[in-house]
């Protein structure tokens, strides 16, 4: 980004080396919280902010900070915006303010400035100006980061892709559309039959129509009635067929799409899930794919059918009598306007009714669920008032809608009748004058209703189209996303499964410009137990995420038994590296099913042995249904410790050579922790183990402890060695000893360091 020329001139006069700046960016707010473009320039050894001076006497330079005076740079979130701050001489100074629209941009800027103050060379490129909250093409704000721009959607391309999805069902879809056309064609027939019936049988002799003999007329009558019956039966038949086909094609396409999206989601890397929250993805898999069914229904009974009906009926009206047809069109704009009025003004009032009802439910639920508290505090009267307010809101909302609807419906009825009245008035006169047959007039009136009804619905076409295209594009976006973790074209098999691990100059950041792991190298021998210790955010979990290859390293490599993880078959890697997480994740199903998760073949004896080793067997067997006990979502019905022991049993059964324990005992009570620790001792025997724990007492028996700080390994050694070194580990132990009265931790500090 470049400074405006006049500001650049002023800045140069005030000693700013504009050409030498390696970073120039603009914010939208000044430090008074007012909209104003303020520029940040970073030179080799100084950062400055510049703003357009209000008068020639004022300086353009707002803030100037030498790099050597800055200890830290950070962003701080405010309400509706944020600040870029620098810590200078122990005090955080606000460098600039920004609105939330620029929050992502300034997070990147802060990351670069952190490198700058560490005298490292940050890379700056055009990609840094990319704001994931706005459309890169038109600049419009997006619904959420990385969402589809609703303005820039290539509508044609989306439609083509949707139609391609129908290809496997092309025959059925074509038949379905043909049936829709037939049904529309057939729906025009009854009015024609009525016309013929009246003109030639019931009221002959007008407008030069010949009068039939009685027998012939009776024959005609019977024939016409039979034809009417036949037409209606045919219409019903085609409707049933096209409806069933629509249901088949619609649900099948939705099913196909949902399966494809879900399958693709499971193949995407963990990094993808960092960008989108589970709620958004669920809405895409469940809600957005459902739109496919809607699309097919729109073809059969929705907008397409209505559009064709309007065109076909319109053509029929003009073919019957073009002058009457023109008269028919007179109220058409009013019909359209009243439909628009209904959808925009009246229909939204129903939302209030639904909202009022839902609030009433909520209030009632809260009061009744908390009735003991209400009674204990003697607040019955207050709750009665609260309920009355909610109930009154429901009453008023209903009244509001019903008063309007009771007025609107008769009014729209009159409007619809207006067309009929005009046709009766003009057409009636023409019938009397012999210019028009009575049958033609009656048929005309019949077509009139078929013409007005779909007109009203078509006013919703654009709304539906926007909703459909956005949802579909979102779905396609998932399918178009490539996984960051790809298997090598020719994956190597693991020659031996010893469990030796080596990190070689590994650098990684969840955002590439913000490394979390910085040039880390260390080795773990097969069967070695290594504890990883460090403050929150120091990079411990990131290390194990990389080892499990949930993410790809940015630089360097990780070797497992001498092979780069990227060269290994993913299946084989997963078989070799097992993970026990802080939050054990159990799926809805039986305990048995959860322990054997990930196993192709299951053997009850092995499951029992694994559960026993995990100290899980005793509590499982106490359940009436033992291992066949059905547990709910995420293991509901079990305590945290029980869930964890099941996940350990799962790990034992999985039998990986390398075991990763990520805070496996942090969320359980002391008694459960002891049971879990005992189980872990059994499960880790003979396996390479990498364990993270906040409670340092759980790691003191490790062969080696690695201390991570700010993405780097700063200390490593045995518990005793590190205590003796009196470094970061020693301080962490001391803090925990002071904070906790648990004997396990107290005992840590009381240990006398062995001389080294």
């Amino acid at each position: 980004m470049e400074l405006p020329p006049d500001l650049a001139g002023r800045a140069a006069v005030e000693g700013v080396r504009v050409e030498e700046a390696w970073l120039t960016t603009r914010t939208d707010l000044n430090l008074h919280g007012q909209y104003e473009p303020v520029y940040l320039l970073v030179e080799a050894d100084r950062l400055v902010t510049l703003g357009q001076p209000a008068s020639p006497d004022e300086p353009a330079l707002r803030i100037s900070l030498q790099r050597e005076h800055i200890q830290e740079v950070r962003t701080r979130q405010g309400i509706g915006g944020g600040f870029l701050e620098a810590r200078s001489e122990g005090v955080y100074v606000e460098i600039l303010a920004y609105s939330n629209a620029l929050a992502d941009v300034f997070q990147k800027v802060a990351a670069k400035l952190k490198l700058w103050i560490a005298a490292e060379k940050p890379q700056v490129g055009p990609e840094d100006d990319f704001n994931p909250r706005t459309c890169p093409v038109c600049g419009m704000a997006l619904e959420f980061k990385g969402d589809v721009c609703r303005r820039c959607i290539n509508r044609g391309a989306v439609f083509v892709r949707v139609l391609k999805l129908m290809r496997p069902y092309a025959g059925k879809a074509a038949l379905m559309i043909a049936l829709v056309l037939v049904a529309i064609g057939l729906s025009l027939v009854p009015q024609q039959l009525v016309r013929l019936l009246i003109n030639h049988v019931l009221a002959p002799g007008q407008a030069h129509n010949p009068v039939l003999a009685e027998d012939v007329a009776r024959m005609y009558l019977l024939g016409m009635v039979a034809a009417l019956l036949g037409t209606h039966v045919l219409i019903a038949f085609t409707s049933v067929l096209s409806g069933r086909l629509a249901s088949f094609v619609g649900t099948q396409i939705t099913f196909d799409m949902r399966s494809r999206v879900f399958g693709h989601l499971t193949r995407l890397s963990v990094a993808y899930y960092d960008r989108y929250n589970v709620g958004q993805l669920m809405s895409r898999v469940v809600g957005d794919t459902e739109q496919m069914k809607g699309f097919v229904h729109q073809l059969t009974g929705g907008f397409l059918a209505q559009l064709i009906t309007v065109a076909a009926v319109g053509a029929m009206l003009f073919s019957l009598d073009w002058r009457l047809a023109l008269i028919t069109l007179l109220p058409a704009p009013l019909v359209v306007l009243s439909a628009v009025f209904f959808w925009r003004r009246i229909y939204p009032r129903y939302y209030r009714v639904w909202d009022a009802n839902s609030k009433l439910h909520g209030v009632l639920n809260t009061i009744l669920s908390g009735i003991r508290v209400v009674k204990a505090f003697g607040q019955e009267e207050r709750e009665q008032d609260r309920f009355a307010r909610s109930s009154g809101y429901v009453r008023d909302s209903f009244r509001g809608v019903e008063y309007t609807v009771t007025m609107f419906n008769p009014a729209i009825g009159v409007l619809f009748q207006l067309g009929g009245i005009l046709v009766w008035f003009m057409g009636g006169q023409w019938v009397l004058r012999g210019r028009l047959n009575l049958g033609d007039l009656i048929a005309f009136l019949g077509y009139l209703w078929m013409f007005y009804n779909p007109l009203g619905h078509l006013t919703q076409l654009t709304n539906w189209l926007t909703q459909f295209l956005t949802a579909t594009q979102r779905t396609f976006e998932i399918l178009d996303t490539r996984s960051q973790i790809v298997e090598a074209e020719r994956p190597k098999p693991l020659a031996q499964r010893g469990g030796g691990i080596r990190f070689e100059h590994v650098t990684f950041g969840y955002n590439r410009h913000e490394p979390i792991i910085k040039d880390v190298s260390f080795e773990i021998a097969p069967g070695e137990h290594v504890g990883v210790v460090g403050k929150s955010g120091s990079g411990k979990t990131t290390l194990i995420n990389l080892l499990a290859r949930f993410y790809e390293v940015d630089d360097g490599r990780i070797l497992l038994d001498g092979e780069d993880l990227r060269d290994l078959k993913l299946d084989e890697l997963r078989r070799t590296v097992g993970v026990v997480l802080q939050e054990p994740f159990l799926f809805r199903g039986t305990i048995y099913g959860n322990i054997t998760y990930g196993q192709n073949e299951t053997d009850p004896e092995k499951v029992l042995a694994a559960a026993k080793a995990a100290n899980a067997h005793d509590f499982i067997i106490r359940h009436p249904l033992g291992y066949d006990t059905y547990i709910g979502e995420r293991g509901s019905g079990l305590s945290g410790g029980e869930r964890q022991r099941i996940s350990i049993a799962r790990a034992i059964l999985y039998d990986p050579k390398v075991l990763i324990l990520d805070e496996a005992t942090s969320n359980v009570d002391t008694e459960s922790e002891q049971l879990i620790q005992a189980a872990l001792r059994r499960v880790t025997a003979g396996r390479t183990t990498l364990a993270i724990a906040h409670r340092l007492s759980t790691l003191k028996d490790s062969d080696r402890i690695v201390v991570v700080d700010d993405g780097r390994i700063i200390e490593q050694g045995s518990h005793e060695e590190l205590l003796a070194a009196k470094g970061v580990y020693y301080r962490l132990v001391k803090i925990q000893t002071e904070l906790s009265r648990e004997p396990a931790v107290d005992s840590l500090a009381s240990m006398t360091p062995k001389p080294t």
């Binding site: 900070l65 309400i79 001489e89 303010a97 419009m140 619904e143 959420f144 009032r349 909703q467």
Partner: protein, 191 residues
């Protein structure tokens, strides 16, 4: 200027034997024991008697709706990134006007909120709710998602709207809008 590990006393008299205040109790800051001023680079400072000078302070409302000029928390960011409350100003008006102005300016910086004065138009665009409004920061046209968590209650009479960029727009009292504005607004933001 002092570093956080070596706090500089407010003045020589108040310095040394500063009794640490109980962190479980609310400390109310009064003009008698607290002076609010600017330090280097315009950072807000608070000097507390018998305590220390806190540099790089920001202010936050405890009750932004019910008591907008009272119960204002002053928070200090330590060098380790930890944030600690210095104390609460019970009534800002009790402070000298120049100090109160500094706190108000800090609040204005922290709460970047547009106060909606008029709603010119509310409708739909690209599936979003589009609002064309006049605010204390000028005329603004913005898009917001049509979801209940994007228009949240502000007390019993107002609403805070959050646009797609997470910017905030406050309507303190819906009843203060014209009947047409209220009707148009309620038609879409019905909750």
């Amino acid at each position: 200027m002092e570093s956080d590990s070596n706090p500089q006393p407010a003045d020589a008299a108040s310095a040394a034997e500063a009794p640490a205040h109980d962190p479980t109790e609310v400390r109310y800051l009064t003009p008698e024991m607290c002076r609010i001023h600017l330090g280097s680079h315009g950072a807000l400072h608070a000097t507390v008697l018998n305590d220390r000078i806190y540099g790089g302070v920001y202010a936050a409302y405890a009750f932004p709706v019910a008591h907008s000029d009272e119960f204002i928390s002053l928070i200090h960011s330590g060098g380790d990134g930890d944030e600690k409350e210095i104390g609460i100003i019970r009534d800002l008006k009790a402070f000298p006007e120049d100090q109160a102005a500094l706190v108000r300016a800090a609040l204005q910086r922290r709460y970047f909120i547009h106060r909606v004065q008029r709603i010119h138009q509310i409708g739909w665009k690209y599936g979003f709710v589009r609002l064309d409004v006049e605010t204390d920061k000028g005329h603004i046209d913005f898009l917001m998602r049509w979801k209940t968590d994007r228009a949240v209650d502000y007390g019993r009479r107002g609403k805070v709207l959050i646009d797609v960029s997470e910017n905030r727009y406050l309507i303190p009292d819906l009843a203060a809008l014209t009947p047409k504005e209220q009707q148009d607004f309620r038609r879409i933001i019905y909750w």
